[in-house]
Amino acid sequence: MSELILLIPQLCLLLSALLILGYNTIFPKSTKLVILTGIAAIGSLGSISTAIFLSSSKLQLGSLFGGQIVVDGSSLFFVVIISSVTLLVSIASYDYINKLGNQAEYYSLLLLAATGMSLMASANSLVIAFVAMELASLPSYALVTYLKSNEGSTEAGLKYFLIGALSSAIFVYGSSLIYGATGSLGLSAISQSILYSSSISGLLGIGILMVIGGLAFKTASVPFHFWAPDAYEGAISPVSAFISSASKAAGFILAFRILIEAFPIDVVSTLGLDWTIAIQILAVLTMTLGNFAAVLQENVKRMLAYSSIGHAGYVLIGLAALTGSQDTLVIGASMMHLMIYGFMNTGAFLFIALAEHWDIGPTFKDYRGLGLKAPLVSVAMTIFLFSLAGLPTGGGFLTKYVLFMAAIGAGFWWLAAIGAINSALSLYFYSRMVKALWIDEPISDLNISSRRIPLGIYAAIFIAALITILSLPFFSIISDFAMTAANVLLS
């Protein structure tokens, strides 16, 4: 029972998912969307606050259920990211899905996926990792196809599902190889058995590579990034926001934990299995491919999708530069970036959701002159975009430069240089959107004033914008939290 106390953040999400299902069963005809939104919001808020409470309390954190699950600073850090994104998305969905039907299913799927993702943050064995990944993935597939009569949505969902299934299979197969080589599935047990046996490198190496591949799917990194642009474009924007921010964060904490705990560099490098080299290649490919492809997009959502791949590449620097010299700073910087990214990227996608609500078209051109018609949200969007590009309108500026700084400190100045080229490139496509909003000649038939004001989306965008801005002057709150999390993960 005492073990469950540490899982309260996850249980909050699960409980609210079940509550929504229960409410819908008892009152199937109820159209009170505000109740569903309320439950989802309270559930995710509860998860955020309990996670923050646990991380600052004197309670003994550690592994539960015989080491299958671990609750520590790093898992709680990511629960905060995931639940914050869930909260923003829940609030914003209130207006968005108003007319779409199946609202209870939507919210419960959202919360179940969030439960899975927050469990991924705590997974301490390959089995739990897989189960949590599937718990996160299956509702996500359904969420992407939420507009089931829409061709784009179903196609996106199918693509997402097929690539997801493939990468899950690769992950499981990799896990089985690791099990075959080491005889254990618990992360610390794996590292122990690697330490004491030295004749297992071949099988283990393939296993590690396959596990990395499976994780690349969740984080939308090369080589399993293909699904991302289609899924984000086909899904409704709140879902795109959810998957691109929360799911990515969950994938990364799992990648951090598995690679650092099960295959510590100093242990595996003696076997010639230094996975940082693989990650370095993936990091370079991911950020370069993501940013270069984003330049070519005319569709704003696809631009954000590719830029989201690019950001996965920046975060991968955190794993790529683990050479022992600046490990805490490197991993900590990645975590900080994921935290701020959770807000700025969600905010940007929710702005697209708002535009869809106003029947604004999908390309850059369709946004021309929106800044003068809807100045407040456009300022918020500008803040998100510049922060994503690494300009000081928000914490994204600091996290990106701290990431580069950490990479240089670890001796990877070339990785930072490639990141810098990408960052400069990203300024081009992010500012295209800014240009459309503020600078280009307005389109004459853009009319948004007559519509009902979507309070939910507005609220979510403003919360995200406020946190993005404030995270710059009050960066120490996030950086301290992230550095503690990184320390725990590395010790």
């Binding site: 600046q326 805490t328 700073l329 900590g332 510049f386 300009l391 000081p392 309108t393 500026f397 600091l398 430069y401 701290v402 580069f404 700084m405 950490a406 240089i408 400190g409 001796g411 100045w413 930072a416 240089a417 810098a420 080229i421 960052s423 400069a424 300024l427 081009y428 500012s431 240009k435 503020w438 600078i439 280009d440 710059l472 960066f475 120490s476 950086s479 301290d480 550095m483």
Partner: protein, 512 residues
């Protein structure tokens, strides 16, 4: 405390103007811009700093040091203060901003509140650049300057404004990234010898020769690479030939008041950072490479001047001649003499005022004639006497006429450069003096064509006479230029005090 209040008054003033109405914003923003001016004047009158902030033995005026956060091995702090180098630049910024606002009243006709709001926001960011001593605090302000500037060029600029704006944006952003990598590599090369990214601490550690290697680079190579990265990074901002291509476009497309801020203050960010980072932190590399850098400076001087000679657009002429003038600053920096370094700093101020004056008078000509092409203009002196007189006086100041600030600045630089100890110093000085001849050439040519001869303007001129609020800024700038020319010591004393420790770093000569 005064520094923070000054920055915040500009920042919140800017936000307030953004939310105000278009009708009120011009006047309101002018009044609000007087607050930071007042703050700066109070700081100037009560200035009690001495020495160079980055070299030990200095007293930093109005210093604040508050812990901000710790990042891995380093702590970051809100550390701001003023020394004899930053004080004149703060004065320049706070004087030019209200005057630029006045000069915007006529040409800026749409989206006024956004325009004036952004001008005040950029002022806040510029203040931050000149007062910050913590690297990340400084870097935030440094990058923050780009955002308002991008909008100011892209929304209120000429026909090719969008291209010019994005070029400026990306060019300078890439430069910042290169500089960042160079500086941070240096930081990690210093290893445990520093606990924070405070420039003062970094400087002390570097002077004490605590630099180790990083990765495969030994300390010597690391230092040189870092110097090069920062030189390129800041060189784009200055701009130094061959990194100058963004500047003419940005200048030509930007509206007059934005050109004033761009040439007057933004370019000085580059030379200020060069002085602080390359020429103070890595003074030994700078001195070793002095001859090479001086060559780059001379090329900037001559090439910029020749480019200016080839232009027919009045704004382009001033834009290219800015490149030339910034070359003098760089030449002054390489000398490591009190006169050279002091002259370079003095030239930053002098050029800020002179280029502001010339851009404003060109703006007045454009307001009246709707053209900036020399070929379309002739005999303006007859119809626009005040503007013509101011432009001509300003142009003579630009050429270095005695009793104006430009003369003092260039004299100091040449005095310093002649006394410099690196090879070919005298040759370079002579060559860069030749630059003045070219400057005089194109400015006299321009004056002759535009202001004298029979009156003729092609196109459809209104020839509205400038209003009093158009003329006031020009007169004020002119008075300051003359005041600085007659009595350079108003600010040179302070500058001299701040650059002396730098010149003496290598046992430099006292006055020559």
């Amino acid at each position: 405390m005064l520094i923070e209040l000054t920055i915040l008054s500009a920042f919140f003033g800017g936000l307030f103007i953004l939310l105000s109405s278009n009708e009120n914003s011009p006047k309101l923003s002018f009044y609000l811009s007087l607050v930071p001016l007042l703050g700066t004047l109070i700081m100037w009158l009560n200035f009690d700093g001495s020495g160079n902030a980055l070299i030990s033995g200095s007293t930093i005026a109005f210093e604040t040091y508050v812990s901000w956060m710790s990042l891995g091995p380093y702590s970051l702090n809100w550390h701001v203060g003023i020394d004899g180098i930053s004080m004149p630049l703060l004065l320049l910024t706070s004087i030019l901003t209200p005057l630029a606002i006045l000069s915007a009243w006529t040409p800026i006709t749409h989206r006024k509140s956004q325009f004036y709001g952004l001008i005040l926001l950029i002022e806040a960011a510029l203040f931050g650049v000149f007062v910050a001593f913590d690297f990340f605090v400084w870097f935030i302000f440094w990058e923050a300057v780009l955002i308002p500037m991008y909008f100011l060029i892209a929304i209120w600029g000429g026909t090719k404004r969008k291209r010019a704006a994005i070029k400026f944006f990306i060019y300078t952003n890439v430069a910042s990234l290169i500089m960042f990598i160079g500086f941070i590599a240096l930081i990690f090369g210093l290893g445990d010898s520093i606990q924070s990214l405070d420039l003062i601490e970094v400087s002390a550690a570097l002077q004490a020769d605590k630099l180790g290697g990083l990765g495969l680079l030994d300390s010597h190579t690391l230092k040189s690479m870092a110097f090069l990265a920062m030189f390129i990074g800041f060189g784009v901002k200055v701009p130094i030939v061959p990194f100058h291509t963004w500047l003419p476009e940005a200048h030509v497309e930007a509206p007059t008041p934005v050109s004033v801020i761009l040439a007057g203050v933004l370019l000085k960010m580059g030379t200020y950072a060069l002085l602080r980072f390359n020429f103070t932190l890595l003074a030994d590399v700078a001195q070793k490479w002095a001859s090479m850098i001086a060559l780059v400076a001379v090329i900037s001087v001559i090439y910029g001047a020749f480019l200016a000679l080839a232009q027919t657009d009045l704004k382009r002429i001033i834009a290219y001649s800015s490149i030339s003038s910034m070359g003098y600053v760089l030449l002054g920096l390489t000398t490591y003499t009190v006169y050279g370094l002091g002259g370079a700093t003095f030239q930053m101020i002098s050029h800020g005022l002179l280029s502001g004056l010339l851009f404003m008078s060109v703006g007045l000509i454009y307001n009246a004639t709707h053209t900036r092409s020399i070929e379309d203009l002739s005999g303006l002196a007859d119809r626009m006497p005040i503007t013509s007189v101011i432009f001509i006086v300003g142009a003579f100041g630009y050429m270095g006429l005695p009793l104006m600030s430009g003369f003092a600045a260039e004299l100091f630089i040449f005095l310093g450069a002649f006394g410099a100890s690196f090879p070919y110093a005298k040759l370079y000085t002579a060559l860069s003096m030749f630059g003045i001849v070219i400057v005089a050439g194109y400015l006299l040519l321009t004056i002759q064509r535009v202001f004298f001869g029979p009156f003729e303007v092609k196109g459809n001129p209104d020839l509205i006479l400038p209003q009093i609020h158009d003329i006031i800024p020009l007169v004020i700038i002119l008075l300051i230029i003359i005041a600085l020319g007659i009595a350079p010591n108003i600010i040179f004393e302070m500058i001299q005090d701040a650059v002396e420790p730098l010149a003496f770093l290598f046992g430099g000569q006292s006055n020559v």
